[in-house]
């Protein structure tokens, strides 16, 4: 077990370069498998990495009417926040974050930052599409944050702690929550939450390419757009890693644990992202909003009640 609060944890191993590589690999796998499911050949696995290098070599254009410091600062803040968040997520059997760095509550706040940063960047760009993206992102965020907080509260109530290390340790002693019927409503609510948080097809309403031209990202180009790509790759690792820690963290120690963790992330990515996005069309914002305030919210409230009674 590795427990450190050194900058190394943020920059190199569980966060930083490692998480970035893992995130880009997940994105590449997602694109490849999606292409295969549609009967295409698809891009190489390292495609997101090539995209990132390419964006680094392009020019960043700032629109005349944009608020420049905010416009350029937003992607930076988003990427750095996710870098920090990646160091807060445990890799069971391999890495336990130092409690000094922060617990589940800090992670919840950090997870809200990418959406906020997209809203700020989009509105600072001065583009009308950015403004549409802003309002949609806001509505979607209100819809999915509620279920997330309640799911986390249910897990915390069950284990009696807001520390991810304690949650992992509890499941190691009592069996993983994946096989615990009491936790199934929370698990279902989380399954509905993470596609929305990752912004993929049924819920990619704020960035809808074919209707609002990628909304907040419309005016970004070059390295600034690259930072948003870094942010979303890291966010995939953080959100999926959070799901692993909350519901099925059992893994062997050492290198085997690392491999098991990567496999779990890939499975969650394929089920919750790839299969979902190739088999569904995009929802309207009102449909997504009412969906989240109906099923995931009801499930998460139910799970909180069941856990409180059990």
């Amino acid at each position: 077990m590795l427990a450190s609060n050194t900058p190394l944890a943020v920059l190199l191993f569980p966060g930083g370069l490692f998480a970035l590589g893992l995130g880009l690999m997940l994105k590449g796998l997602d694109r490849r498998v999606a292409a295969r499911l549609q009967g295409r050949v698809g891009p190489p696995l390292a495609q997101p990495f090539y995209d990132l290098v390419k964006l680094g070599r392009k020019r960043t254009m700032v629109p005349d009417i944009a608020a420049q410091p905010v416009f350029l600062g937003a992607p930076l803040i988003g990427a750095v926040t996710m870098l920090l968040a990646a160091a807060l997520v445990p890799i069971p059997g391999v890495y336990a974050p130092n409690p000094m760095l922060g617990d589940l509550l800090v992670l919840l706040y950090l997870l809200a930052v990418p959406a906020v940063v997209l809203m700020i960047g989009g509105s600072a760009s001065g583009s009308p599409f950015g403004a549409i993206g802003f309002s949609r992102e806001m509505a979607l965020m209100i819809a999915y944050e509620g279920p997330l907080v309640l799911v986390v509260a249910a897990v915390a109530l069950r284990t009696g702690s807001f520390s991810l290390n304690d949650i992992v340790a509890y499941q190691k002693a009592h069996g993983s929550f994946l096989f615990d019927p009491v936790m199934w409503p929370a698990l279902l609510a989380f399954l509905a939450f993470y596609p929305a948080n990752l912004g993929i097809v049924p819920f990619d309403i704020p960035e809808a390419e074919t209707e609002v031209l990628e909304g907040p990202l419309l005016e970004y180009s070059g390295p600034a757009l690259g930072l948003f790509k870094v942010m979303s790759a890291l966010k995939a690792v953080v959100v999926l890693g959070l799901g692993v820690a909350l519901f099925f963290p059992l893994a062997p120690d050492g290198v085997a644990g690392l491999i098991v963790h990567a496999v779990k992330l890939v499975v969650m990515m394929l089920i919750g992202v790839t299969f979902l996005r190739v088999s569904m069309g995009r929802m309207r914002i009102d449909q997504a909003f009412s969906f989240f305030l109906k099923w995931p919210l009801a499930l998460s409230i139910a799970s909180l009640a069941i856990v409180a009674l059990a």
Partner: protein
């Protein structure tokens, strides 16, 4: 210095593998646009295997596909959108219209050929061109883009 040069060369080789495509419809009859969509959507002609991706914003683009004879109505907008594409970029004229005006050649409302106004690098003639020809044009554009990035 040599290490830096090696790294730059390596980065350039990697960057070439990610050309993003943006389509400008300069008053086209939509025939060429359907063929462009074909190259992306039909399994047989998948351009994503070259690393290409059709993007919705001119600011994300590396390769610009222009279709249509540049009608008076859209001329200013096309020039403005083209200027929004960040350098380095490569321009491909798809179909016979941007090259000569095609069947609209004699019209008072048409400003073809497009290369009077925009630096066109590659012409893909045809009315409409076959998807294979468009992919060939994109492949040549990628070769040209390698020099520029």
């Amino acid at each position: 210095m040599t290490l830096l040069q090696t790294l730059t060369e390596k980065a350039r080789q990697l960057a070439v593998r990610s050309p993003w495509i943006y389509r400008i419809n300069a008053g086209s009859c939509n025939g060429c646009d359907v063929e462009c969509a074909t190259t992306a959507l039909i399994p047989r002609y998948d351009v994503e295997r070259l690393g290409c991706q059709y993007c919705g914003s001119p600011r994300h683009a590396d390769i610009v596909l222009i279709t249509g004879p540049l009608t008076t109505r859209v001329k200013e907008d096309v020039l403005r959108v083209f200027a929004e594409v960040p350098d380095p970029k490569v321009t491909v004229a798809v179909g016979v219209c941007p090259i000569s005006g095609g069947i609209f050649r004699e019209s008072y409302a048409v400003h073809a050929p497009v290369d009077q106004y925009l630096p066109v690098d590659i012409n893909v003639p045809g009315c409409p061109p076959r998807p294979q020809a468009i992919i060939e044009g994109v492949a040549q554009a990628i070769a040209l883009w390698r020099e520029r990035i």
